[in-house]
Amino acid sequence: MTFAQSPTELQPPTNPLEVEICGIRFKNPVLPASGTFGYGLEFLPFFDISHLGGFCTKGLSPKPLKGNPPPRIAETAGGMLNAIGLQNVGVRNFIEEKLPKLRAYDTKIIANVFGYSLDDYLEVITALNDAEGVAAYELNVSCPNVKQGGTQFGNDPKLAAEVTEAAKKKATRPVIVKLSPNAGDLLGVARAVESAGADAVSLINTIVGMSIDIYSHRPRLAFATGGLSGPAIKPIAVRMVYEVSQVLSIPRIGIGGIATAQDAIEFFLAGATAVQIGTANYADPCAAAKLVDGLEAYCRTQKVARITDVVGAVKLK
């Protein structure tokens, strides 16, 4: 199927889907999520990625990572568990091999940054600072699928603040911190990263889960536990975006189980300024492009002048 091969024509006088987050203008608030969109280039056979406001790269670490042994994925009702273990090409390969090709497209690239230690995060950011064509960094402090690192930063307000502050000092670009739904004190972590200088937060990452094969009595993932994503987590994600929106003034990017424009609008109403679409990209590689079109149609039919008009507009009474 071919899909919207030409970039969205901006509707004069204003484009209802344009949003601004940490000083960056996105032509629409649809950003495929890290780990579900590869390095962007993989989707070119399906649609022109210039149709998207932007996208988040697979988590980048200083050196290529080998990842966890298979099986790495298991489908569950309304969702899937994954324990990829952040297998990625490494930040240098991304800069040398992927980024030059991506510059041809009119879409904002958000580099998702991962490390086992504070130094790892800073090394990736330093390498990316010199690379042309990256709009912002998204700190993954919330990956549940690696033995050490990642979550330890995201689960503790003090550590989350430390990594955010250090990243902000190093970074020449806005820093988005990706929050973990597995943190005991989500609001504490959210407040801490805002105070530490984060330009925005994105949430949620996957929720730790487990599935067991009843015949072999073994976990269905080699890593035993994995991160749950997909429609099953959407109500939890909407609730978390809503709660975080009550206590933060920096922008929120909503993630979790989004497949359609209707799903995305729920997140806007809860307080998100943009959304990321993850697992839905697998079953329908054009899902993100269709989401953009769906939002356009919503604005048109519901007479919404700007999508930002509905941000946080949930009515509690």
Partner: protein
């Protein structure tokens, strides 16, 4: 790679299996032997992910291209496909993955030895067809639990493949695992083995392919296996479908391995590149 919508022409059930024929109207779909598709009922949202299926046959028709798949009904995904009837639509990402390497068997007077277990035979049929078209001798060792599990038997025979059968329950062919007649054949043809006459291609349950790989390593016969791994996307972005492969010694001279995506770098791998565990 295309995301196409196919119309069901036939969906015939036999035992725990189904054979589904999809027409892609006004489309030329080119598939190489061993490539696969990712299928789901049109626009279905549950189950969430598409299911990987080897392309069994490809037929250009005046109306478009017909692709056939043979599936084993295991769980929710294949049960949903089983319920579909002619006229309904199926979403199909196709063609995906690397194909079988035919080149080693196209030189000299060589013979392709295909070893299939159960529904794994579906992945080998296009290879047999292509090789027979090029007048290459094809020998098939086909195994299954019972006679009904000997997938594609009549089709392979009609191509002129020499067929050896094995079933676990002895209801057809020799009783036991299909790797036993394979081993006997290679032992009985030692001089041809030494002369490099045979190239082995295998697809089926992992324990079977592992045994094929062992036999071929010992006999020094070049062998290829088409692997199965759980897949979320089928086009390289989730990195969920990996197999462990040898990747040469490290700087310190230690043997090293890496994880390669079955949907992109595979599903076909050389057996000696794989870590069989």
């Amino acid at each position: 790679m295309l995301d196409l919508t196919g119309r069901i022409e036939r969906n015939q059930l036999f035992g725990h299996y189904g054979r589904i024929c999809l027409l892609f109207p006004d489309r030329q779909v080119v598939v190489a032997p061993g490539q696969f598709g990712m299928l789901r009922p049109n626009q279905s949202v549950e189950p969430l992910l598409r299911r990987a299926m080897a392309v069994y046959t490809v037929k250009p028709t005046p109306a478009g291209t017909e692709l056939e798949f043979i599936y084993q009904v295991l769980g929710r995904g294949t049960a949903a496909i089983q319920r579909l009837v002619p006229g309904q639509l199926v979403d199909c990402l196709v063609p995906l993955g690397k194909s079988y390497d035919e080149s080693p068997v196209l030189v000299g007077d060589r013979e392709a030895v295909l070893v299939a277990g159960g529904v794994g035979a579906a992945s080998l049929y296009l290879l047999a067809e292509s090789l027979r078209r090029q007048s290459v001798s094809v020998r098939l060792f086909l195994g299954g639990r019972s006679a009904i599990d000997l997938i594609g038997l009549e089709d392979f025979a009609a191509l002129g493949c020499k067929v050896h059968l094995a079933t676990n329950d002895g209801s057809r062919g020799v009783a036991g695992f299909v790797t036993e007649p394979l081993l006997r054949y290679l032992v009985d043809h030692t001089s041809e083995v030494h002369a490099g006459k045979f190239v082995v291609y295998t697809c089926g349950p992992t324990p079977m392919m592992k045994r094929v790989a062992e036999i071929c390593e010992e006999a020094r016969v070049l062998a290829y296996a088409s692997l199965e791994e759980r897949m979320a996307c089928g086009f390289g972005v989730c990195v969920g479908c990996v197999a462990e492969v040898h990747c040469g010694p490290s700087e310190a001279g230690e043997p090293e391995t890496d994880f390669h995506r079955v949907c992109i770098e595979g599903p076909v791998f050389r057996c000696d590149q794989l870590v069989w565990g």
